[in-house]
């Protein structure tokens, strides 16, 4: 589903150019869930942004469901995201001026689906927020907002779901709920999940864990025993 070949990311700073990602190559199979773990500033969010097509690689190749992302311009990447990718963010990233249901409808509407509202209602029920569908984000708790975000991420039944610290802004009780919801929906829809976190407990729920350290993908942890789904065959290595 995802294949990277020697991708790097270099940024220009006032003190010259800085390579924030060392050449990275790895593969993620369809339906697999992987966690990218690492300390703050290790480059894990940068890697996520490259994998999701939110940013461009400096060198190397990325294939997302076979599409050569590294050759795409912003417009093509946007289309690809709309077709195949779902997102969950630490800060929820809901549009404040739209209600819960309208936020959930957004990806379906952008994709031009005519039954956006029906789908949104259904999935909001699924995440347990049917009764709050007409509330605005700032009228919802953090946990509820993240559930809306999850509903939004899954409405288009994406092939790949990227989650950036999905429980980072939540308390323990809400975190557990969100994690369960995330993995349940993931299993149900058969989405490939790429999760960035520094929460080792969360990471352990994924099939595989990749460790980022100072821009290098240095370690591959075998999949946690309690995780279900197909056993991954992919490898990841840093150079």
């Amino acid at each position: 589903m995802i294949q990277t070949k020697d991708i790097t990311k270099t940024v220009n700073t006032s003190e010259g150019s800085l390579q924030i990602l060392q050449p990275i190559s790895f593969q993620v199979k369809a339906g697999e869930s992987i966690a990218i773990v690492g300390a703050s500033g290790s480059g894990k969010s940068t890697l996520l942004s490259l994998l999701a097509g939110l940013d461009e690689v400096s060198t190397g190749e990325i294939f997302l469901d076979g599409a050569p992302l590294h050759t795409f311009d912003e417009e093509q990447r946007a289309r690809l995201r709309g077709d195949k990718v779902g997102f969950i963010f630490q800060s929820f990233m809901l549009v404040q001026s739209l209600t819960a249901i309208e936020n959930v409808m957004l990806p379906a509407e952008i994709a031009g689906l005519s039954d956006a509202k029906k789908r949104a209602s259904k999935i909001l029920e699924q995440v347990g927020l049917g009764h709050r569908s007409h509330h605005y984000p700032n009228q919802l708790s953090g946990g509820e907002q993240q559930r809306v975000a999850i509903a939004r991420a899954f409405i288009g039944q994406p092939k790949i779901l990227f989650a950036d610290e999905p429980t980072g802004n939540l308390d323990a009780a809400n975190s557990v709920k969100i994690e369960d919801l995330l993995f349940d929906l993931n299993r149900e829809i058969g989405t490939t999940l790429v999760l960035v976190t520094h929460d080792n407990e969360l990471a352990k729920k994924c099939d595989r864990q990749l460790q980022m350290l100072a821009g290098e993908l240095t370690e591959v942890t075998e999949r946690a025993q309690h995780a279900t789904g197909p056993v991954p065959q992919g490898v990841a290595h840093g150079r």
């Binding site: 942004s49 999701a52 939110l54 946007a78 709309g82 963010f89 001026s97 952008i110 950036d164």
Partner: protein, 845 residues
């Protein structure tokens, strides 16, 4: 889908108050432009209507030859109403006495505007009459009853005609006003004129055709007529051409309305620019989210352009309604005070308001929108990422260009637009310098323990670029308000100065040298103060540099002179004085007070060339330059003069003014008569007959009616100007408020952090208030400077006024600026500080 999404965003944002500021700015721009221009258009047409009474029509064609019947038929064919008048000076004979009269023969449609007024008895109170003299009858001036010793019903002979005196003529609309050789007026039917045989070859006759109709049809007719006119013979005059005091006051008021409306547009534009910038910044996150979720640039562009369209349409609609209501309120408020109908509806202001709203909404949101479109999707992960596009040059260029375009379209006057725009641009540049100066000062002042002042300075320094934009918008707003305010004060003050309380309301002429002292004494005994005596000698103006002056350059045969302007022609009124009159200003050469006659070499007397001072307008018209020799024939003598100075004369004062002022030596051998003026209180009017009794030969002119008319108009125009000022002030205050609101949002995050860190409300409040005080006072000071600059240009170039400095505003503007901006800041801050930290932080999300 795009429309749905855009509509949904618009609906929710409107409901949640997210669009309030930008919507409010558009409403404000449309409402203020509409109400101002609707009101000024209505007032202008009402004033034009009123001033058209002074020329008895909308337009007038004056000619020294009979006006072709074809020209009048053509006018009628084009839908214009017409009237005619033929005027000349002639002798009128009673049974035993005779007098020179100012004869006016008019068609029965005369006057097209204004009224003829008659009285029951000589010097009786005037009442309007709807008719004109019937064939065979004449209406005559009160004075003529004495001069010819006639009564109503008596017979008077003019030329070969014989007429019955039917009414006492008090006033005709376009009689003009001149205190020199004004003969008593006689009004007769035009059809009677040929029978008198007085307009034969050689007689000096003036012909007038009057026209009324719509502006467009008059314009069309004039286009047809113009090629047939002969500059030497014909003169086309429209209401706007009125060079009189009233005409100039109205012209100035019109320019003021234009200025105020222009400034309202700029104010609205500033408000929209501020609001659009804020709108754009608040949508960085949604755009990043849309992009992340797969929206293409085109889709986002459509969503936001549609949003702007919805906002614009709503803003314009509400703005139009609000504008009409405001305007109607003004009309109701003014109804009792302005003696003109304000009911005529005009479409142009509506068109202008819609255009303004649209141009403002589109052009001022262009840059913020372009910035918005350039927000990268990566912002969802890296919250510090702003818009990809950032170009102050593009921002200032686009908004500056839009403002200039708006001004130009609206005023159709490049000069007034360029002046306002230029001073605004200069202000922006100056402010950028000041901002960076402030940063330097702030670095120094912001050191030390963190008190409210240090916090304020630190914030100003940190947000230098944001503050510079804010400072510029505050300064421009304050400057525009100052321009409108100070301009109004100067203008009204100058108008009032023309007619101070004791403005002379009577003029006397034909006073002989021997009567002078007695007259002065007699008036002093009655507690009436007489103004200066001006000697007058009638002279023939015969040559310039020894070249004969042809009659064509003179106005002698034109019995009507505009108000305050005395006759010039082959017969000129010459005066002499060592002292330069007040309201006269030398523009070239030197006043002749110090002139000494050349040494006495026996026969020098005849050859002396005396100095003369010439009025600048007549110098231009007759092509007279400094050092030219002008020759006058006074009595049987030749007086040679050399132009030693050229004077600019303020014709708007009610005082005698002269085209030619000679050195007293030049006139010592001639017998002069004198003219003077005095003021008599309204309640003493009944004493006038007794006052004048001992001086039967002195001619008296009562100009009270004229002065009251002028005063009325000036009062009404001043009142209107005041209303406009209030409207602009309200608009400006609202803009300031919008600016403070917008900048308050930007401060929200910082307030939340300070609050979270445990800063006391008092410290935060004072630091914010101090910050606004600093910004307000700097903006005020900058505005005062820019105001001075633009006022100087405006008064000099546009308003034809004497420019002056306004030092008081250099103190007032920073003080008021600091206070207003400080108070608004405090209010905005109070709102934020009432929220608890949790609410504050949530608002930031």
């Amino acid at each position: 889908m795009v429309v749905n999404l855009a509509w949904r965003l618009f609906k929710h944002e409107a409901r949640r108050g997210e669009l309030t500021i930008i919507l409010f700015a558009i409403i404000l721009s449309v409402a203020s432009v509409l109400s101002l221009s609707l009101f000024s258009e209505r007032l202008q047409s009402a004033l034009v209507e009123r001033s058209s009474q002074f020329i008895a029509a909308d337009s007038q064609l004056r000619s020294r030859k009979p006006i072709s019947e074809d020209w009048l038929s053509q006018a009628q064919a084009q839908g214009l109403a017409t009237a005619r008048q033929v005027s000349t000076r002639s002798m009128a004979f009673g049974e035993s006495l005779m007098s020179l009269v100012d004869l006016r023969a008019v068609s029965d449609t005369y006057p097209l505007k204004g009224e003829i007024k008659v009285a029951d008895q000589p010097f009786g109170s005037p009442t309007p009459v709807a008719s004109t003299p019937a064939p065979g009858e004449i209406w005559i001036d009160s004075r003529l009853f004495q001069l010819l010793d006639v009564k109503l019903g008596s017979t008077v002979y003019i030329g070969d005609g014989e007429f019955t005196v039917k009414r006492v003529l008090s006033e005709i609309p376009d009689q003009g006003f001149s205190i020199f050789n004004t003969d008593p007026m006689v009004l007769m039917a035009l059809s009677d004129l040929p029978a008198t045989n007085i307009t034969g070859p050689g007689s000096r006759v003036s012909y007038k055709a009057y026209y009324t109709g719509s502006d467009a049809s008059i314009e069309e007719y004039y286009e047809w007529l113009r090629p047939q006119l002969d500059e030497e013979l014909h003169r086309w005059e429209e209401v706007g051409d009125d060079e009189s005091a009233i005409g100039r006051s109205i012209a100035r008021a019109e320019r003021y309305f234009l200025l105020a409306s222009l400034l309202a547009i700029v104010l609205a534009a500033v408000a929209i620019a501020v609001a659009a910038q804020r709108y754009s910044q608040r949508h960085f996150d949604p755009v990043a989210i849309f992009k992340t979720l797969g929206a293409t640039k085109q889709m986002i562009r459509r969503v936001y352009v549609l949003q702007i369209l919805f906002i614009t349409v709503l803003g314009i609609t509400v703005g139009i309604i609000a504008g009409v209501i405001i305007q109607q309120l003004v009309v109701i408020a003014l109804a009792g005070q302005v003696d003109v109908s304000l009911d005529v509806w005009h479409w142009r202001p509506v068109f202008i308001a819609v255009l303004t709203g649209s141009i403002c909404a589109v052009l001022f949101s262009l840059y913020p929108l372009l910035r918005l479109f350039s927000v990268p999707p990566l912002r969802v992960l890296r919250r510090d990422m702003g818009a990809g596009l950032s170009s102050k040059g593009l921002q200032f260029g686009a908004s500056g260009g839009a403002i200039f375009l708006l001004m130009w379209i609206y005023s159709r006057d490049v000069e007034i637009s360029a002046i306002l725009f230029g001073s605004g641009a200069l202000l922006v540049v100056a402010l950028l310098f000041v901002t960076f100066g402030l940063i330097a000062v702030g670095r120094w002042l912001g050191q030390g323990a963190m008190g409210a002042w240090q916090l304020a300075w630190a914030r100003i320094r940190r947000r230098a670029m944001d503050n510079s934009v804010q400072l510029i918008s505050f300064s421009i707003t304050i400057m525009l308000l100052l321009v409108v305010l100070v301009m109004r004060n100067d203008m009204v003050a100058q108008w009032r100065a023309q007619l101070p309380e004791n403005t002379p309301n009577y003029f006397m002429s034909n006073i002989t040298e021997s009567q002078k002292d007695d007259l002065e004494q007699h008036f002093a005994d009655q507690q009436v103060r007489i103004d200066e005596f001006y000697p007058v000698v009638r002279g023939r103006f015969v040559a310039v540099n020894d070249e004969q002056v042809s009659t064509e350059v003179t106005k002698e045969d034109d019995p009507e002179q505009s108000e305050g302007r005395q006759g010039l022609g082959r017969e000129a009124n010459l005066t002499w004085s060592n002292k330069l009159q007040t309201e006269n200003r030398i523009v070239a050469g030197q006043w002749h007070a110090d002139w000494q006659p050349p040494g006495d070499d026996g026969n020098a007397e005849a050859g002396i060339v005396y100095p003369v001072s010439v009025e600048s307008g007549v110098a231009k018209r007759l092509n007279i330059a400094m050092d030219d020799t002008l020759t006058f024939n006074v009595g049987s003598e030749i007086v040679r003069t050399r132009v030693t100075s050229i004077r600019e004369v303020n014709w708007q004062t009610m005082q005698p003014n002269f085209f030619f002022v000679l050195h007293p030596d030049a006139m010592q051998n001639f017998n002069a008569t004198y003219i003077t003026s005095f003021h008599l209180d309204a309640q003493r009017k009944s004493e006038i007959t007794a006052l004048m009794l001992p001086f039967a030969s002195v001619t008296l002119f009562d100009v009270d009616a004229r002065i009251n008319q002028l005063r009325d108009i000036i009062d009404q125009v001043s009142l209107a100007v005041e209303f406009i000022l209030v409207l602009v002030l309200i608009a400006g205050s609202l803009v300031l408020f919008a600016q403070v609101q917008a900048s308050m949002d930007e401060r929200q995050q910082e307030l939340a952090i300070l609050r979270t860190l445990g800063a006391k409300g008092r410290l935060i409040r004072f630091s914010v208030i101090n910050e606004f005080l600093i910004i307000g006072s700097v903006a005020g000071l900058m505005a005062a400077m820019a105001n001075e600059f633009s006022l100087f240009l405006l008064q000099w170039r546009v308003f034809d006024m004497e420019a002056s400095m306004h030092w008081e505003y250099w103190l007032i503007a920073p003080t008021v600026g600091a206070l207003v901006v400080g108070v608004l800041g405090a209010l905005g801050c109070y709102r934020l500080l009432r929220l608890n930290t949790g609410q504050l932080l949530r608002k930031m999300v």
